[in-house]
Symmetry: C2
């Protein structure tokens, strides 16, 4: 098995985590790291002196790495991924894939043309709890699904280049698409900018599907409590996935409301089941999928097309916000 | 002090609770109960034989009661309250006051003309935890208020005459208006009917205020967990009021996000304070206020005008839903 050489662009919070996981894979290693912050690279040089560092990303592209991981702000994703593909590198881009639909489409076409892997860091698609939830949804055990609800709130971390929708909702949108494998028909948004002007810090997305299912995603940087919860409500069973409760991540509620002769509703109450989840670090599974896809020449689970679907929904939400702003601007004062 | 005689219309879940509290007041008693279900009245006659019962509400109106409590479905509120006022009775109507703005306005005018008390059963305005929260908001301790969030979800109880907005949101709307004493400028709604056709069982209301504050209210009959939570987020402090956690109903989080030179945000993390709350049953305080208002001839805290404000918001939400339905109906298939 050929040794895979990885380059990492962006040595902030997430880059070192990805590098650590890539290094644990068989026949794989991070050989080069690029960041425009020389101080961060100096620290790296002290701790892991065998890794080459580059303050100019071009040096990384021209190096012998087979694949590049891009862990930088969203606005830089497209340009860096495009350059990497043009240098015939396989690419894993942090979520969201790009800042626009056109950018994502171009990257996908370019990866296809160059026969390179293009992958997006939708870590939750590799999360064992999400996969347990997916099994429940796909098996039909939950019955007809009425709705999907996601809540991802906490104090901070505020970003100043993107709003809370682009920052936090990619997680929940990718979970949603992964669980159900279908696209929404309609989207509504309620969002507010409280702390920084013009950067929404609280948002609610409401997605409607052709079959009547709906999804509601609440994201916020402005909340006293850390909540990371997904609820899937079926007519047979309901499931809560609580990412902040490691011992009871998935709870299956055997309860529901039954309609007899509309409008007579009766209730079923049953046991709560907490399945055992074999835990493996999601990022490790994500890195494995990236390496395997490169070796075998297949699409990874979170391939570019999936990244595009998430960007489509984020962009639609953004369009609605812009339209609302224009409408408000036209109201006479 | 003159003995106050109360009549109760509707002997379902809530009527007996109100009667129990009225009976504990000094110089007050429930003398007559009306319900069109003779079986319920027969049970009452066995347990409290001193109370007169009436299957025809007219018999109650013609009795010697000074005041009437109406604990019946919303669609009957207006007609029953109107009849009671026309019989010169003081009236306490369960929430929401009426099913339309015009009905509420007519009742208020009639009560004024007849010099009778018109009160609405916004029990949460008498809740000691809500009053603690109000003190925090009004004292300025929370700083500038960014947002109010309310979540009131559980499995059931499904109603077939009104949707979840009219059933559950009156609580949170009345809490919102009581805490802040100001009216929203704009309202948005996302609502879905899953279990019964055309009766929304999941809804999100988003209210915007002139000063930039926003309120988000999530109500649902279709959720595996019982959540009854209000969060108030200020720039100085944040408060969570959890109605399902009696020992820690109010939690004050001394934390926040500070903007220095936009867009530089820093975070403050401090202690959590759980104030002691002297608990008195809210319904008891509500009944006391009703009796005192009758005796002294003043407006109760939850007077008709307050009831009207809540109905205004519910009616606005309903209008938006109807408009959305029409828009959908016009989409070609």
């Amino acid at each position: 098995m050929k040794e895979l050489r990885f380059g990492v662009i962006g040595w902030g919070y997430w880059g070192p985590k990805i590098a650590r996981n890539l290094d644990t894979l068989p026949q794989a290693m991070v050989t080069t790291v690029a960041d425009n912050d020389a101080q961060r690279l100096a620290m790296l040089a002290v701790n892991q002196p065998w890794i080459k560092t580059a303050t100019h990303v071009e040096d990384l592209f021209r190096s012998d790495v087979d694949a590049v991981v891009i862990a930088t702000p969203v606005r830089t994703h497209y340009q860096l991924a495009r350059a990497a593909l043009l240098h015939n590198k396989h690419v894993l881009v942090e979520k969201p894939l790009t800042a626009s639909i056109a950018q994502a489409e171009e990257l996908i076409a370019l990866a296809q043309e160059r026969e390179r892997v293009l992958m997006v860091g939708h870590t939750f698609e590799y999360n064992p709890a999400v996969n347990e939830l997916r099994k429940l949804v796909q098996s039909g055990d939950l019955g007809k699904i009425y709705c999907f609800e996601a809540e991802r709130v906490n104090l901070g971390l505020f970003r100043n280049d993107i709003n809370v929708i682009w920052d936090l909702a990619p997680h929940d949108v990718s979970i949603l698409l992964y669980l159900f494998g279908k696209k929404p028909e309609k989207i509504k948004v309620q969002a507010h900018a409280h702390v920084q002007s013009h950067i929404e810090d609280v948002a609610h997305l409401d997605l409607e599907f052709a079959d009547g299912m709906n999804a509601h995603i609440h994201v916020s940087w402005l909340h006293p409590c850390k909540i990371r919860r997904v609820t899937v409500i079926g007519d047979a069973r309901m499931v809560v996935y609580d990412d902040t409760n490691p011992a009871e991540m998935i709870k299956i509620y055997n309860k529901g409301a039954d309609v007899h002769a509309d409008p007579v509703v009766s209730y079923r109450y049953g046991a709560i089941t907490i399945p055992h989840i074999d835990w493996i670090e999601p990022l490790r599974l994500e890195c494995e999928d990236f390496a395997n896809s490169i070796r075998i020449g297949v699409q990874p689970r979170a391939h570019g097309g999936i990244g595009l679907e998430v960007v489509r929904i984020l962009a639609a939400a953004q369009d609605i916000l812009k339209k609302q702003e224009r409408q408000n601007a036209e109201v006479p004062v």
